[in-house]
Amino acid sequence: MRKVAVVGVGTSKFGNRTDVSLPELAWESVKEALDDARLGTEDIEAFVVGNVGGWSSEMLPAVVVGEYCGLVPKSGVRVEAACATGSAAVRTAYHMVASGESDIVMVIGVEKMNESPTPTVVEFIGRAGNYFWEFENFGLTFPGYYALYATAYMHRYGATEEDLCKVAVKNHYYGSLNPKAQFQKAITVEECLNSRYVAWPLKLYDSSPITDGSSAVILASEEAAKKITDTPVWIKAIGYANGTANLSKRLDFIGLEAAQIAAQMAYKKAGIDPLEPVKYLDVAEVHDCFTIAEIMAYEDLGFAKRGEGYKLVREGQTYIGGLIPVNVDGGLKAKGHPIGATGVSMIAELTRQLRQQVEKSRQAPIRKGMALAHNIGGTGHYAFVTILSLS
C-alpha cells in the first residue's frame, strides 16, 4: 500500500442553500479544493461522491456532479454509509490511491436536504435503522434513537441535561467563529435547557440541523503529492466497523461499540497508544449529531474513561486550551450536518487545522502534528475513525 496525502480541500457555506442546485453546491467545494491544490479538473483521475439522497431530486448524484464539474469521462461512483457517507467516500478514494490504481482522486460529499419539506426529511431519517422492526410499527425518529442512548447513559452515570447542553454551547461558540457554519450565533445553557423536547431527554438545541452543503478533498500518492504541495497532510490510518441494524441487538446503550472498534483499529495502524490518545493529537472532529453523541465519542475514543465523558465538557476540557480541542469548527451541531458531506468536511477542516490556516480565533495549537476525525453513520451503524498527520 502506498502513502496517501490530502493535497487540496474545499467546503461550501453550510445552511439552507435555496440559492443553488445540488451540482452547483458541489462545484463550490470542488472549485475551492482544485484552487487549493492548484490543479485543474483534467488532473483528477477519478472521483467518489458521498451522497445519501432520497430527500433530493437527483437519483444519480455522481453522474450529475461529474458532468457539472467537468469530470466526465473520468470514473466516479457514489458511496453511501448514512451520516458516515463522507468518511466512506474518503476511505474508497484512499484505497484507489493506496493500491496504485490512481495518483490523484477527488472526494466530493454533497447533500441537499432542503429540497424536501421537513416532515419528509424526518420521515426519511427515522428509517435509518431497521425499517420494519423500528420504524413501520414504532415510529422511531433519528433523535429518538440517540435519546435511547441518552436515557441509559444519564441514568447510569448521573450526567444531566445541563451537561448535554454544555456540548451545544461549546459547539455553537465555535460555530460563531466559523464563517461557513450554518449557525453563527453563540447560545447559553439556559437557552438550550429551555428549548423544546424533540425526543425526550433530547431537545432541539441538543440536535444538529437539517443542512445543505458540500465538501471536497483531493487525495494524491506520495510522488504526486510532493509535486503539488509543500504541506501534504497524510492519511495515517482509517479504522472502521459496523453495528447491528436493530438497536435492540446492542449489548448496552452507553457507548457505540462500532466506534470503539474503529478507534482501536485506527490507533493500532497509526501507532497511537490507545490508553493515551490525546497525547498524540492536537485537535479532533467528532460526530455530534446530538450532544449525547459527542459525550459518548469522548469515551469511545479513549479521551475520557467510560462514564466520565460528560466531565470533560463540564470542565471545559474540549475547548482550545483544554485537554483536547473538539469540534472547533462548530461540529455537526452548529456548522451543520449535510449528511453525505459531513465526513468529508471533517477531513477538510482538520487538514486546514494542521496547516494552521483556519480563522485565528478557532485555530488549535499544532504541536504534535496529528488530528482525528470520528464520523458515525446512523446510531453507531457505521463508524469511521481517520487519523491525519503532518509527517
Partner: protein, 182 residues
Amino acid sequence: MSDNVVNSVSKTLDKLYKEPLKQLETLIGATGLPVYKDPKSGALLWVDVRELRLRFTLSVNKIAKFVDGLREGKLLYTVCKRCGAKFFPPQADCPRCKASDMEWRETSPVGELITWTVINVKPASFSHHADYVVGIVKMPDGFNITAWVEADPKTLKPGMKMRLLVDRRPGENYITYWFKPA
C-alpha cells in the same frame, strides 16, 4: 372508521400537501411557470410538478408464522434447530451455522426495561398519535425487544418489569405488540 391507520395517515398527508398543491396550481395558472421567490432568502425556486408517492410492499412470507402468531395474540421468535441460536426479530436463516430450519417459540410474558425515549416530534405518518414512549426491553429468552411502552414516562425506571401485550393498537386498528408496566 376514523381510528384506522390508513385513513389517519391519509388525513395527515392531505393536511400537509393539499394546500401547497393548490398554491402550485394557482402559480402555474397565473404565471405559466411553477416558479416562485423564496420569501426568506429571495432565491428563485422551481416546484417539482412530478409528485412521487412511496408505499413499499414488504415480504413476510418466510416469517409467516410470526404473522400467524400476531393473529393469535402471541409474539413469536425463532430458534435454530441445528445450533440453538435465538432470533428476535425472527429470522428464517441462521448465519451462524447456515441452516434454515427454525423452531418457532412464544416469547416470555415479562421483561425488564433497559432504556426509553418519548417521541415528541413525530414523523408525519405517526402524527395522529399523542407523544409516544418507545422502549427497549430485555427478555429472559435471551434477546431484547423494541416496542412502545404504555405508561407515564415520568414513572419509568431502568430495570422496571414490563408485560408484553399483543393486540390491535388503539387508533390504528392493526395488530402489533407493546409493553405495559407489569
